[in-house]
């Protein structure tokens, strides 16, 4: 067995900072629990703020200190995203229960013995794991050891970017011997007593009589030492993936602009991608909920502010690329006028496509071009609206107004012929084209009435010269839109050709008798 222990020393602070505007990252921050500072970031520590101080003391030391409330639920959400990212590497991912003694002890443990060969060794696996965790934005300490508890303890000892590794039990014993006793969960409450007895490291604790230790400090301490050293079996329950993704992020500075919303949404999207990659799936659609600031006082005549607004983003081609998802969200958000400042973001997703993403290609090919087009159309539709990207459809109708129809494009296959699904047969189409009369390329959706002078049509004040016609187009009683017209090809004074008609019968709801412009020969 080879366990990898991930220790996240700053998880609480980082999950709090995710809801802050981006420029607040370098300001002093601290988390409070029960009016006591439980953690502080580096700028705050430089000002002398450290865990254990009272709130008032900390504010006296650093008046500009930004204080947040520690929130176990928020930390748990961030930690489970780390576990989701790790699930892409092994099914055996363990998230130890919250430590009742230490606020800042966040671990995720992975059993990777069976995955080593697939990922080409421990070094490569750790590198891939680091890449998968990077978008979540947490500082991670890594250690690997043959026992789960040993890996967890060693991960606390590891330095940043320097994974500790113990290949076998003797090496683990040697490494653990130097570990301070307060790293053990049940050791923390007895920390003062242990220190008073001169027991500082695990090597001091181990040779002592077990019965005495158990009586003084409880059996849990012994139990944990045994599991860390591999003297006792250590069964663990792996985390399971929720079938629906739902993550929320409280924004501590109310977001007035879309940039601020996007900054928070980027964190949620990174979590979404971690969740999707854990099941080797790609996201097909997701929903962003923006909880708005309630406005109690309402001015007269003003519409009530909705308590939240929703953005539904559907992808034509499922994607697991956080950058692409963010681009789509950016385009949609750029079009939205936020009703009120947002206080909280929620991201929902339950619509995924399972299976690995198709391979990328080195050289441009027809397939990569199709994929590029899909992304282009998706972006156009995200900003302009789905209805604004259209495709012409061949409609078999003799009436000019009905023969030019369009339909929104399906971004997934921009070049697929609609004809396949419709009943039109290509041979029939070419035959119909061969025999059909001349039609202009430009058709006006509604015929434009023309002035007359001595029964002759005028366009832009100049008379039209009729060249050929009439071509009679008639009827349509079956769908209540009958026409009875004589069409002519006419020439404008500058030489361009136009298609005009004259209504034959005064129909009830159609245009009356007289001359109309129907199209232009482009």
């Amino acid at each position: 067995m080879l366990w990898i222990g991930l220790h996240l020393p700053r998880l609480s602070l980082e999950s709090f900072a995710a809801g802050l505007p981006p420029q607040a990252a370098n300001e002093p921050l601290a988390l409070l629990d029960n009016h006591l500072i439980v953690s502080a970031n580096a700028p705050a520590q430089a000002l002398g703020v450290k865990p254990g101080l009272k709130r008032a003391t900390a504010l006296a030391l650093a008046p500009q200190l930004r204080l947040g409330q520690a929130d176990a639920l928020r930390d748990a959400q961030a930690l489970s995203s780390v576990a989701h990212a790790a699930l892409a590497f092994t099914p055996m991912v363990v998230q130890p229960p919250a430590d009742p003694y230490g606020q800042n002890r966040h671990h995720v443990l992975l059993e990777v013995q069976a995955s080593l060969r697939y990922f080409a060794g421990r070094e490569r696996l750790l590198q891939r794991l680091g890449e998968a965790l990077a978008p979540l934005g947490h500082r991670v300490r890594v250690a690997s050891a043959p026992t789960a508890q040993g890996a967890a303890v060693l991960a606390c000892l590891a330095k940043a970017r320097q994974p500790l590794h113990c290949a076998d039990l003797p090496a683990l014993h040697e490494a653990l011997a130097q570990a301070p006793v307060w790293l053990l969960g049940p050791g923390r409450e007895h920390w003062d007593a242990l220190q008073g007895m001169g027991l500082r490291t695990l090597s001091d604790l181990r040779p002592l009589p077990r019965a005495g230790l158990a009586r003084r400090f409880g059996p849990e301490l012994l139990d944990e030492i045994d599991r860390a050293f591999g003297d006792k079996p250590d069964p663990r329950v792996p985390v399971s993936l929720p079938p629906l993704f739902d993550s929320r992020l409280e924004l501590f500075a109310r977001a007035d602009t879309t940039e601020q919303v996007l900054h928070g949404a980027a964190v949620l999207l990174a979590r979404l991608v971690a969740w999707a990659s854990a099941q080797h799936a790609r996201v097909r659609s997701f929903r962003l909920l923006m909880q708005h600031e309630p406005r109690h006082r309402q001015r007269d005549g003003e519409e009530p502010v909705p308590d939240h607004s929703t953005l539904e983003i559907a992808l034509a081609e499922p994607s697991c690329d956080a950058a692409h998802l963010l681009v789509l969200l950016t385009e949609r958000l750029a079009q939205v006028q936020l009703a009120a400042p947002s206080l909280e973001l929620r991201l929902h997703c339950g619509d995924i496509a399972r299976g690995a993403a198709p391979n990328g290609e080195l050289f441009p090919s027809a397939k990569s071009e199709r994929e590029g087009l899909t992304r282009l159309i998706e972006r156009l539709q995200a900003r302009l609206g789905r209805e604004q990207v259209q495709r012409l459809v061949l409609t078999e109708d003799h009436r000019p107004e009905r023969s030019c129809t369009t339909q929104p494009v399906d971004a997934a296959n921009p070049q697929a012929a609609v004809r396949r699904s419709a009943t039109l047969d290509p041979d029939a189409v070419s035959r119909a084209v061969a025999i059909s009369a001349v039609r202009p390329a430009w058709l006006l959706p509604h015929p434009q009435a023309l002035h007359e002078r001595q029964h002759l049509p005028l366009l832009d004040g100049a008379p039209l010269l009729i060249l050929s016609g009439p071509e009679r187009i008639e009827s349509g009683w079956w769908d209540g839109d009958p026409i009875a017209r004589d069409y002519f090809i006419a020439q404008q004074s500058d030489g361009a050709l136009v298609w005009i008609f004259r209504g034959r019968l005064p129909l009830a709801d159609g245009p009356g008798p007289g001359w109309y412009l129907q199209g232009r020969f482009g």
């Binding site: 459809v393 006006l444 039209l464 009729i466 050929s468 020439q491 050709l497």
Partner: protein, 265 residues
């Protein structure tokens, strides 16, 4: 001898009395008479081609139809931005264009009259006019996957915006046609090729080359477009036009060209 060496230095160099060349083969327009007047013998790729029209319907679709059809035959996409009216699929089929393969993008107004603007676009007021069109064009150029592009630009477009498009179009492997109003002829433009189109009679188009990489062309190129009316009718119409031009007050000959009487209602 020295001169020949000078031109060979760089594909962007050419002599003022010669036509410019392009490093890439241009896309043939399908009209040999026009091709010989265009640098690179066809529509340039990776550059804007400006077509100035007095009004839609002078024959621009028939002029561009051969290059659109050949692009579609290569299996590449042709996109149309903001066409001024509905395009008739049957008319396009008659010109050899598989109309269902075209993609039409509307950036300014809803495509269907009376239909509500889709989605959340109702509340916007901060988006400047034409901004969406430019954005969409730039995205399409930069993606590099579009085969050919026709855009009907909003009127009175500022020259710096066109310059920006001309920069973006470098990534676009294919011809890009910007169709603009004829009044834009007086204003400067970054497009390396500018043509003014004018109808020159029935099924004929006069193409005036306003700007190209090469010497000035005083005479407009006369092109025979695919005919919409029979040759006799066209000849008759030309005769009639000449006659009216000679004697203005003469009554326009309009009604029934073939001697048939149309019952007036």
């Amino acid at each position: 001898m020295r001169g020949a060496a000078l031109e060979a230095l760089h594909p962007a160099l050419w002599r003022a009395h010669q036509l410019g060349r392009h490093s890439e083969r241009a896309h043939s327009s399908g009209f040999p008479a026009l091709d010989v007047q265009l640098p690179g013998r066809g529509w340039p790729k990776r550059a804007l081609t400006e077509l100035l029209l007095p009004h839609p319907g002078v024959g621009e679709i028939r002029l561009l139809a051969p290059s659109i059809a050949s692009t579609l035959r290569e299996g590449r996409l042709v996109m149309l931005f903001d066409p001024p009216a509905c395009l008739s699929s049957w008319a396009l089929l008659q010109l050899g264009i598989d109309a269902e393969q075209l993609l039409v993008v509307y950036t300014r107004r809803p495509p269907v009259q009376g239909a509500a603007p889709p989605g959340l676009r109702g509340a916007e007021s901060h988006v400047e006019a034409g901004g969406d069109a430019l954005w969409a064009l730039e995205q399409s150029f930069k993606s590099g996957h579009v085969g050919a592009l026709l855009a009907w630009l909003p009127p009175r477009m500022q020259p710096e915006r066109l310059r920006r498009l001309q920069l973006a179009v470098q990534a676009h492997d294919g011809p890009a046609f910007m169709l603009r109003e004829a009044a834009a002829a007086d204003r400067p433009s970054a497009a390396p090729l500018r043509l003014a189109l004018r109808s020159a009679g029935v099924d004929r188009l006069a193409v005036h080359v306003m700007k190209r990489r090469g010497p000035l062309l005083a005479q407009a190129v006369q092109l025979e477009l695919p005919p919409m009316v029979s040759a006799e009718v066209a000849a008759e119409a030309d005769l009639a036009r000449e006659r009216t031009a000679a004697a203005r007050p003469l009554r326009q000959r309009t009604f029934e060209p073939r001697g048939r009487r149309i019952p007036s209602v």
